[in-house]
Amino acid sequence: MNFSAYFHRWGSPKYFHTYATRLSPWLAGFSVVLLGVGMIWGLAFSPSDYQQGDSFRIIYIHVPAASLGMSIYVLMAVASVIAWVWKIKLSDMVAQSCAPLGAVFTVIALITGAIWGKPTWGTWWEWDARLTSMLILLFLYLGIIALRSAIEQREVAAKAAGVLALVGLVNLPIIKYSVDWWKTLHQSSTFKLLEKPAMPPEMWLPLLVTMAGFYCLFAWLLLRYTTNEILEREAKSQWLQDRY
């Protein structure tokens, strides 16, 4: 099968519905197990930090949520472009589903960051580069959600949201490198490509596990939300009615 045929098959709501339904229970199972193991490991078994004490255990939810907040944004922008250029409706459904989920993970990153900041920095909030650019990410998500709900014509809404998503991509390298470019309270990345983490494995291994758990959970949620869009937009299709 050539690439273009493969691409188009995945763009079909019917095909997506079939595989999303089959894949969902696995993803749900994996996320429960990975999150359970990772969180218990991180909360009870990993050693406490010599500077931050036990408050550092917030890392096991804060870092995955922040990472997802950014990854989901990229996925949303890419899906918008695909929907726009190739007129693939399913891709627009994915982009639409990404927005609220990305917003929630960004909120989790901001809240857990604030809670972590209080005992560590002595403040809930500081208008520094990392925190401010992360807040802008949240506003971008909210703007995209608002834009979609404000425009009734679906294709126009998709285009407008896509343009905003593309423009907002500028913010991502700013978030990523803010801790290196500016003086900031925020510590630098735990994981770097090609570099050993500055933590011992007893500390970063559980982080790897919760990270995988968060990504599985997001994948599951994305399938659920996108399938919901199919259920709404294709409600009159015979193939869908035959399945329920």
Binding site: M39, L43, A44, V104, V107, I108, I115
Partner: protein, 61 residues
């Protein structure tokens, strides 16, 4: 185990309030996402069933 007792585990050297509230908020928000998705699916499936029913009635009469 990094803690010697349950009380130690809960208090986390005075940081318990922060750690547990961070985990609690995260858990609630994630649960809300799951719940919203499941509830919407249920409603949409009911709607599809109704549309299909109406179709069969229309074809019979």
């Amino acid at each position: 185990m990094a803690f010697s007792s349950w009380t130690d585990f809960v208090s986390m050297g005075g940081h318990g309030v922060y750690v547990w509230s961070a985990y609690g908020v995260t858990f609630l928000l994630l649960l809300a996402c799951v719940w919203v998705g499941q509830r919407r699916a249920k409603k949409l499936i009911q709607r599809i069933k109704k549309i299909a029913e109406r179709k069969t009635y229309a074809s019979r009469s």
